[in-house]
Symmetry: C2
Subunit: 341 residues, 2 copies
Amino acid sequence: MPVTIRDVAKRLNLSITTVSRAMDGYYDVAEETQRLVNQTAQEMGYVPNQAARQLRRQRSDTIGYLLPSDTPHFSDPYVAELVAGLGDQASEHGYDLLVATAQPGSTAEQRAYERWTHGRKVDGLIITRLRLQDWRVQYLLQMGFPFVTKERSDDPGDYPSVEVDGKRWFRLLMEHLIALGHRRIAYIGASAELKIQSDRSTGYRQALEAEGLPLIPELIQTGNLSAESGYQAAQRLLTLPNPPTAIACVDDMTATGVLHAAHDHGIEVGSDLAVAGFDGILGSEYTQPPLTTVNQPVYQIARRMVELLIHRIHGESPGQQQIFIEPELVIRQSTQGRNKN
Amino acid sequence: MPVTIRDVAKRLNLSITTVSRAMDGYYDVAEETQRLVNQTAQEMGYVPNQAARQLRRQRSDTIGYLLPSDTPHFSDPYVAELVAGLGDQASEHGYDLLVATAQPGSTAEQRAYERWTHGRKVDGLIITRLRLQDWRVQYLLQMGFPFVTKERSDDPGDYPSVEVDGKRWFRLLMEHLIALGHRRIAYIGASAELKIQSDRSTGYRQALEAEGLPLIPELIQTGNLSAESGYQAAQRLLTLPNPPTAIACVDDMTATGVLHAAHDHGIEVGSDLAVAGFDGILGSEYTQPPLTTVNQPVYQIARRMVELLIHRIHGESPGQQQIFIEPELVIRQSTQGRNKN
DNA sequence: TTGTAGGCGTTATCAA
DNA sequence: TTGATAACGCCTACAA
């Protein structure tokens, strides 16, 4: 039904070869012909059939992102920014972005990766929410399929990644709290198999150690990167006989729940209790009080990942394989004394 | 390089025809053969090449969503939930989801739609953020290309849509404010060409009219669906000689900015000023104070849209073309008197 | 500068 | 129950 290259060729009494080459802007086609072909194609609404082109060229000009969605419909709060970054950068390079959702570690996830890689539905993949041992990394490495990760798993192998140094920056976040005089600082983390949990909790411990502060087990709680879990962990912390004076959270969603719990306890965040998050999600500046956090430039990170991936797809020399992006420590009222105007 | 149907056939001394049919679970193939083929395919890691399949079948088993992203990297805060819903429902039906970003009304947007439709990259489209006059609707209708919208444009034509009745529910939101005794209620809207602005502002006016309240022009402000613009509009409203006692916002992001502005003015939201939003984005329950809003079940809406779209793609009888989803009026402290525990 | 022809990997038609 | 064969629409040696 749709118009094919044949139709355009027939209309102009040209061969499909010429039409094809004219449209690809080859140099060996008469200028006049070029003009005519393009104009006619435009008029007839001809756009090359993507499937045919892919089959012939053996590439899809598409990159894939399988977003890790736990439970019914939880999803990262910065997924919007990430997808925007991936999409923008991809389209600037003539690539499309294929997205699917799957529970981390599910068979659905595995099948999706199989279909996309073996079926050549995508030319490369973007991987986030890395696990310490991550079958995706192992699988793709072994297949020799192009991919880029956000952070790295502990699996050995060469592959490009874009990273924010969680250890270092969580430690800096801690130093900020310690500099404010806090000595009993709690940590609310996430599942131990996640790379970010590993890094950030290490930063937490390193900071305590460096300052000669004791590691108090009861001040370490585990959540699941949701506000709800942050709320509950905070409940446990705030009802302790000797509660913490500061709570550092593995991410902003968790911190949001902590703010809520503190409010329900009639605790003034900022003066009575310091709360800090990590990520810099949209909305962290609009919490009450505004949240101190480490701001990751997610949009830029996404663009960078796509850039690396496309290089990899084109088989270009890897250059810098491991890119570190500097986030920003944003100090807001949640860790400041009362600020009343 | 990857294994093809040929390789599988060769290994089993069968024809590719038989392999193909065995894998599609046709009935006219020996059970034993069936088993053997599937097992071997599995072992060899064979997955049909998607491009070849698409070319032959003349469909892509893919649906497209071009997400409207204004300026550098603004994007809807509920895009995560939407994409999760689209992705989940699509994959349950064996479809993939293709996503791209483009500025509404840009030529990039138009070219993306052309490539996807004419190039048969997708079998159908999901359209959001409808404009009153929307070229996308006109274009797709004219092409006879399957699509489903969230809300409808004013363009005539038959197509399926999933809707939340913005007029009615904004009016209900207003009635809540009026019932609380508010008489000077401001409205912060968005660009006039957006369908949601048209609907919600109409709801605002209808409510005033129904209650015999005057429409006060200076209480009507325009933003752009961002917290920043809500903040600025609130600044204007709160410095008025005779400021409003309540502010109803076209969406939650705008309302978030209003909360922030009120706080900066030392105004107690809830007792001194009522603020309400619309959408029910993740985070609205964690603002301070928690925000009164109309909660749209975005995830469910997304699933429903995909469902309708797939019916449409399969050419099934349209059935219900226009689906209304009931949101929920969630009353929180931003419109309640002081609630101190 | 243009045209001919072969094949990318599948699925579907038809015959065996 | 299985196999040979012809497309699907495009790109690209190679020939003219």
